[in-house]
Amino acid sequence: MPALLSVSKISKSYRESTGFLGTREKEVLSEVSFELESAQIFAVVGESGSGKSTLARQVVMLEQPDSGEIFLHGKPLQSEAAVHQQIRMIFQNPVASLNPHKRIYQQLEEPLINYAGLSQSERANRIRQSLEHVGLDADQASRFPHMFSGGQRQRITIARALILNPEIIVADEAVSALDVSVQAQILNLILDLKDEMGMSWLFITHDISVVNVIADRVMVLYAGKVMEIGRVKDVLENPLHPYTRKLLECVPKMGASLNMDFNEELSYPDVVVPSTESGCVYRNRCPLADQICRESEPPMISSANQSAACFKA
């Protein structure tokens, strides 16, 4: 049986200007592949420039990848209407993703009006249900977004995503802009919804510690390429790729003080290797890099439940 969502070797480039008259192609995603099963939470971890948000845009059909394919239930993504209903998205900034001039029920009603073909009272019912699902009082639906707190607004955006009963929800940094205590509430909500409604989540984040809480499988992206992919338990306890290890090291842990090696401080340059150069894209930051890493791109080396794109794995 095919996976719910199958992303196969997608690549995407954008034109960017290099000074006065020149432009060049910047490869933002390069041959990214992964699979998402039903009732599964799949985390995509990456820092800025990793391509994770671009990946989200491809999956919801906001853009088309330059190469590669995306399959939903084994069939390529074709109809925008179908994708809008089956793969919904929530964003990082709950303030920015709600229309300040529209009441909550109007914003929740919009997808229903466009796609659901229900009568007005049926719509009102669905709106009520959706809000209750995310723990909000349905009587508040006639209010405007600014009358709610950040955490409540994020719940509203989740209600908007849920309202069409999608199979997949793409959460692009959905908890990154929230306070820690609110973040915990929203993570719990996502887990509850997954258990109750059985949808899958594509959870995009830069925070690897959140991955442990919420995800079943995780993929680590760097400069548009997949560095490591596997079950959360395996990747976090036994990372194969040096970048994954670096991410895990860098997460400040309570009670641990900083390693004050000055040389180490300088040795992590800010520059990412452009995709036009040969070799592994992580090589100029990798402590294990050597000749072969500079010459050719590493293949995915797999063990039982994990794969990493590294010669040294």
């Binding site: 964003f91 466009n114 405007f144």
Partner: protein
């Protein structure tokens, strides 16, 4: 520096109530609003208030000065002009022309400007370029000159003058709408609406328009004063209202030579134009502040 989130983010007023609350606190804007309402009332109720017919010529009371002067006559509160017509009545009826025309012009420019600007902002590409260049050409010609050319082509009449002024005011609405639409298109809630299946007209009217109304409202208010001035200018040049229509601009024009002999025939229409334009500008400024979410009221 990060903005400190405070009271207004959790206020219990709807966006419209917020605007009204802030506007109410602005005294000059409220005064201006009162003045405008007063003028509009005068215009609407002209047939009831005006003591005389504005076209009636009282041949034995030519050039009578207004009330406070020694030689004033009862029944002619603001004096008469060189054909014995009551100034007060002419001004009242003139208000109907000027205010109504101003309003109609703004509505026409607003509606067509917003449509064209929306198309430019949402479609981008060649369509946008063509529209923008067309607007640039129109803006490159001095407003009055452009209006004169259009009226010259269509023939001098009040309707044609109004049309000409509408066309002259159009480019500003197009540009502002286009710029606002482009900035809106990058917002997350617009993206969310698109992912909800809204596009084209529905996306514009339902999602985008409520959020770009602020600069448009301000421009409309300020254009109102431009419209009145331009109509008056055209009237003054004889290209708009034709005598004996008591439009304020043509009142100015027909009494030009009398400025030394009977100054009230010139200053009163001029004053009327001044007050209206000033009031609408002050109201426009007040609205701009009230609509700006970053301007807070103490």
């Amino acid at each position: 520096m990060k903005e400190i989130i405070l009271f207004d983010d959790l206020s219990n007023l709807t966006p419209h109530q917020e605007v009204w609350y802030k506007l109410r606190a602005n005294r000059s804007a409220m005064t201006a609003l009162a003045v405008l309402l007063f003028l509009i009332a005068g215009a609407v109720l002209a047939p009831l208030i005006a003591p005389h017919d504005p076209y009636e010529q009282y041949t034995d009371t030519l050039l009578v000065p207004p009330y406070l002067s020694a030689e004033s006559r009862p029944g002619f509160l603001l004096g008469t002009d060189d054909l014995g017509r009551d100034m007060f009545s002419r001004l009242l009826y003139g208000a109907r022309y000027s205010l109504f025309l101003g309003f109609a012009i703004v509505v026409f420019s607003l509606v067509s400007g917003v449509m064209i600007g929306a198309v430019a902002g949402m479609k981008r590409g060649l369509t946008e370029t063509v529209i923008l260049r067309l607007m640039d050409i129109m803006l490159a010609v001095p407003a009055i000159l452009l209006a004169i050319v259009i009226v010259a082509i269509l023939g001098p009449s009040l309707v044609n003058a109004a049309l000409a002024v509408s066309i002259v005011l159009l480019p500003q609405f197009v540009r502002i709408t286009r710029a606002a639409v482009i900035s809106e298109m990058s917002r997350e809630y617009v993206l969310a609406s698109q992912l909800d299946g809204s596009k084209g007209g529905r996306l514009f009217f339902h999602t985008i328009l409520p959020n770009i109304s602020s600069p448009l409202i301000v421009l409309a208010t300020l254009s109102f004063s431009s419209a009145i001035l331009d109509i008056a200018a055209l009237g003054f040049l004889g290209l708009g209202a034709q005598p004996p229509t008591p439009e304020w601009g043509s009142l100015l024009s027909s009494s030009r030579e009398l400025i030394e002999v009977a100054p009230w025939t010139v200053t009163l229409p001029g004053l009327a134009i001044l007050v209206t334009v000033l009031a609408s500008n002050l109201l426009g400024d007040g609205l701009r502040d009230a609509l700006d979410p970053k301007v807070e009221v103490r």
